[in-house]
Amino acid sequence: MPTYAPAVIPTRTDEELLAAHRAGDDGAFAELAGRHADRMWGVAVRTLHDQDEAADAVQETLLAAHRAADRFRGDASVRTWLHRILVNTCMDRLRDARRRPTVPWPDHEMPAVRPDAVAELATRMAVSDALATLPDFQRVAIVLVDVQGFGVAEVARILDVPVGTVKSRCARGRTRLAVLLGHLRGEQW
């Protein structure tokens, strides 16, 4: 008859995995990346609104973190550190995309109506499309706080801005989204 070992789950922390990676444990970084890849993908897709760009951004982030593991000082969590790299990568890509007018971005059809006139829209927009119309800084804050559920303090560390700035970007972004999504009738204000 088979015998069963006690069900102990010795899961290494993110910090332990990163330390193991630095020490030469080949599988440690893959395990770490696996833990965070889903969430990073969500952030990248919602921020860039383009799957190809998002795939490149996450890949670039993973490779950068893989290379720069020695520079992780432990002043933030590994998750915060990874997302800081990711957000910076996404912002760079957004800037680059705007400098290349011949490259369509995003690849889906953008709403033809400016947000100013959006109160006249008969139909409400899809959430992801509405997100895409926000200014980059507002969108990133909203994606991290409201969509992904990060606390404002962690988002402040990720974005390297004061907590009040995160809250303010969220407040402005939510107001605009509330109109776009049909919850708020803009003409009343």
Partner: protein, 227 residues
């Protein structure tokens, strides 16, 4: 602001939209927040604006997480695989190339891989050649990526494999894949076995010495569709 600014707070007793959004975002000092909230609740339009912001946050929170496409996960894995390796502090001895799984035709193994639709990104990111460090909560995820893998260690030998399966009471099950892993810090062998039910697999983690002389089941789980 794209939304036209309303009357400033206090002009007609109604907080403007920007102030309401600040309140909603927790930007106001407690005392001021109290006053603005009281004023907002006394005004139907302001109260509706607060409700709209709440509904917006709820809708954002309800946005489904987009799944990582398997080809994207595979691309990341390949990129990490190609990244320069770090020096190993305690290098493991070079391993022999994994042998082909028994006499099973490769085509059939590939078919089994294709049958597994969902691929967990975290598992894909692990190189199949490495001795994967796993925890018990990851058994199902690891199993999915193990189907078709023939890193069987000592069980690459058909007689030893048959002996091991007999020893652990799984004599009739087909081995769909296996890989050397580290579970609870101990070297082990993870096997994915058929169950006779389409889409259901049995994950068995056994000690590396498992064979005709006996074996120890370190972990076991049935995964897949159905009950």
């Amino acid at each position: 602001m794209t939304v036209p600014a309303g009357p400033p707070s206090g002009a007609d007793g109604r907080p403007d939209l920007e102030l309401l959004a600040d309140l909603d975002a927790g930007l106001l000092e407690p005392e001021r927040a109290e006053r603005v909230r009281a004023a907002a609740l006394a005004d139907p339009q302001a109260a509706a604006a607060l409700a709209a912001l709440t509904a917006t946050r709820a809708e954002l929170a309800g946005l489904p997480a987009p799944p990582v496409p398997p080809d994207v996960a595979a691309r990341w894995a390949a990129a990490l695989d190609a990244a320069p390796r770090r020096e190993t502090a305690c290098p493991e001895p070079a391993r022999a190339r994994p042998r082909v799984l028994g006499s099973r035709p490769r085509r059939r193994v590939a078919g089994a891989v294709l049958a597994v639709a969902a691929v967990v990104a975290g598992v894909l990111l692990a190189r199949p050649d490495d001795r994967l460090v796993i925890s018990r909560v990851e058994l199902a995820a690891v199993a999915r990526s193990t189907i078709g893998v023939d890193d069987l260690g000592g069980l690459a030998d058909p007689a030893t494999r048959a002996g091991c399966l007999t020893a652990v009471g799984r004599v009739d099950d087909e081995v769909l894949g296996g890989r050397r892993v580290r579970l609870d810090g101990e070297q082990a062998l993870l096997l994915v076995l058929s169950t006779g039910t389409l889409g259901r697999f049995r994950v068995l983690v056994v000690d590396p010495a498992c064979g005709a002389d006996g074996g120890t089941v370190l972990a076991e789980q049935v995964i897949g569709a159905g009950r």
